[in-house]
């Protein structure tokens, strides 16, 4: 479970996130929807403990991100924006390093890495250098890393970025399945992604949470069109 309580983050004079409060629970994928620069990536960085909030806090998997960041990190699988990976390592090697960092023993790591490679269709690139992989493959390697160790909370920043249509479908299916027993929190700026993947939405604009609800509920506020509701909420068109 994720619960953000008046979460704020300021960089110099710029307010990236301004008192955001929301919840995400297991059962369905929760989408964090907003236009570019709305504060989505900053929020995920705060929830993953990469950044420290300026004010407010969040509880992730039962632990406060300010007070118990290491406990939060033990329970979170995090896919960063643009999936940055060390280019000098081989894909399988990188996942084995990550499994060790996540506390898996040798046998557990071997099993988890094998499952990850199979789930994300990466077996054929296991021995290839990450620097030689396409963006789509890198995205899948980073996603496999997030899933290692079967964490109860998944924070995924644009998880279907750079994937081909077949892989997009497979990843959405996988995330829906994982969300039945885990908290899956997905940031996206794509309405189609939010509509097809998410059972609950948190809409953010200008660093503030402007609406929460299911895609159907939000669409219902604008005559059944999620696009129109989104544009109204985020200031894309006049209401």
């Amino acid at each position: 479970m994720i619960e953000a309580r008046a979460l704020s983050r300021v960089f110099g004079d710029a307010v990236a996130l301004d008192g955001a409060s929301f919840r995400a629970e297991p059962g369905a994928v929760t989408g964090f929807l907003g236009p570019n620069g709305a504060g989505k990536t900053t929020t995920l960085r705060l929830l993953s403990t990469f950044l420290v909030p300026t004010s407010g806090t969040a509880v992730v998997a039962g632990f406060d991100v300010r007070e118990r960041p290491l406990e939060v990190r033990r329970r979170v699988g995090y896919l960063c924006e643009n999936a940055p990976l060390p280019v000098e390592l081989r894909a399988g090697e990188y996942l084995r390093v990550r499994a060790a960092l996540k506390g898996l023993d040798r046998a557990g790591a071997r099993r988890a890495v094998g499952e990850g490679l199979e789930r994300l269709a990466l077996a054929d690139v296991e021995r290839r250098l990450i620097g030689e992989l396409s963006r789509g493959y890198r995205q899948r390697v980073a996603l496999a890393d997030a899933l290692l160790g079967d964490p109860p909370v998944l924070l995924l920043d644009e998880p279907t970025n750079s994937l081909d249509p077949e892989q997009v479908g497979a990843v959405r299916e996988l995330l829906r399945e994982l969300a039945t027993t885990r908290t899956v929190f997905v940031s996206t700026h794509l309405l189609g992604e939010a509509e097809r993947l998410c059972g609950a939405l948190v809409v953010v604009a200008g660093g503030r949470v402007v609406a929460t609800g299911s895609p159907g509920e939000l669409a219902g506020t604008a005559g059944g069109s999620l696009e129109l509701a989104f544009l109204r909420l985020t200031g894309g068109v006049a209401a």
């Binding site: 960085r45 993953s48 403990t49 990469f50 950044l51 420290v52 290491l70 990190r73 033990r74 979170v76 995090y78 960063c80 924006e81 643009n82 940055p84 990976l85 060390p86 280019v87 000098e88 390592l89 090697e93 084995r96 390093v97 990550r98 060790a100 960092l101 996540k102 506390g103 023993d105 980073a142 890393d145």
Partner: protein, 247 residues
């Protein structure tokens, strides 16, 4: 421990797969080989100065140390600055391991590389032993001295890399830290010899410290000084990582 080993392995792979590491290694071996040859040439002359080849090899002049500052800066500049630049700092710092483990793995990786620069120079004392009977103690103490000096330089380089946003700034900052340390010894010479400042600077002087090590004096105060400086730099490095995420 498993996390430290996994990170150290990753760090060593990153260092040894970098062309800079091999350029540094080759240049160090070339320069140290020329230096050792010249020492032998000077000592073989009839009017040779007093000294043993290995004692002169372990830091007879400023020229012995400046290239080391450059080499260590070249290796440590990437440790954190490159991770920041490429974005890989994010998955690294959100992994469920303490920041101390991350800093320790990066330090050990860079220090092991530094030690591997010196490892082939073991051929020089072996060469001397094949032809003469140099004392073992001063040679071992000399290697202990360069290892401790390298540990402190490496830790200062890591701190520079954690403070800087780009590798080039990290390298310049790292060189600046090392050069300041070297100049501490020079500073002692311009102060009144019995003043407190001069005594402190002499104690911190790399030249005076290496003068003791290379003649076989492994003074515990020098060991404590280098270890303390290394730990202080690593603690500041860890703090720099935390401050950047909070500011």
């Amino acid at each position: 421990m498993r996390a430290l080993w996994a990170l150290l392995r990753r760090e060593l792979l990153a260092i040894y797969s970098s062309p800079i590491a091999w350029v540094v290694l080759a240049t160090f071996l070339l320069l140290s080989g020329i230096y050792f040859y010249e020492i032998l040439w000077v000592l073989s002359r009839p009017a040779a100065p007093y000294g043993t080849p290995m004692a002169m090899f372990f830091g007879g002049s400023l020229l012995s140390y400046v290239p080391l500052l450059l080499f260590v800066s070249a290796i440590t500049m990437r440790t954190f600055a490159e991770e920041e630049h490429s974005g890989t700092i994010e998955p690294l710092l959100t992994a469920p391991v303490g920041r101390n483990v991350i800093v320790a793995a990066k330090f050990l990786g860079a220090w092991i590389f530094y030690l591997s620069l010196w490892a082939p120079t073991a051929a020089y004392p072996l060469f001397l032993w094949s032809r003469a009977d140099p004392a073992f103690g001063p040679i071992a103490a000399g290697y202990l001295g360069v290892a401790l000096f390298g540990a402190a330089l490496t830790a200062l380089g890591l701190l520079a890399s954690a403070l800087a946003r780009t590798q080039i700034v990290a390298a310049i900052l790292s060189f600046g830290f090392g050069a300041s340390w070297l100049l501490a010894g020079v500073g002692a010479a311009v102060l009144s010899p019995d003043s407190l400042g001069a005594r402190v600077l002499r104690r911190a002087s790399v030249f005076e410290m290496m003068d003791r090590f290379r003649v076989g004096i492994a003074d515990s105060r020098d060991v404590v000084f280098c270890v303390s400086l290394s730990l202080l730099a690593l603690l500041l490095c860890r703090a720099a990582l935390d401050v950047r995420r909070a500011s």
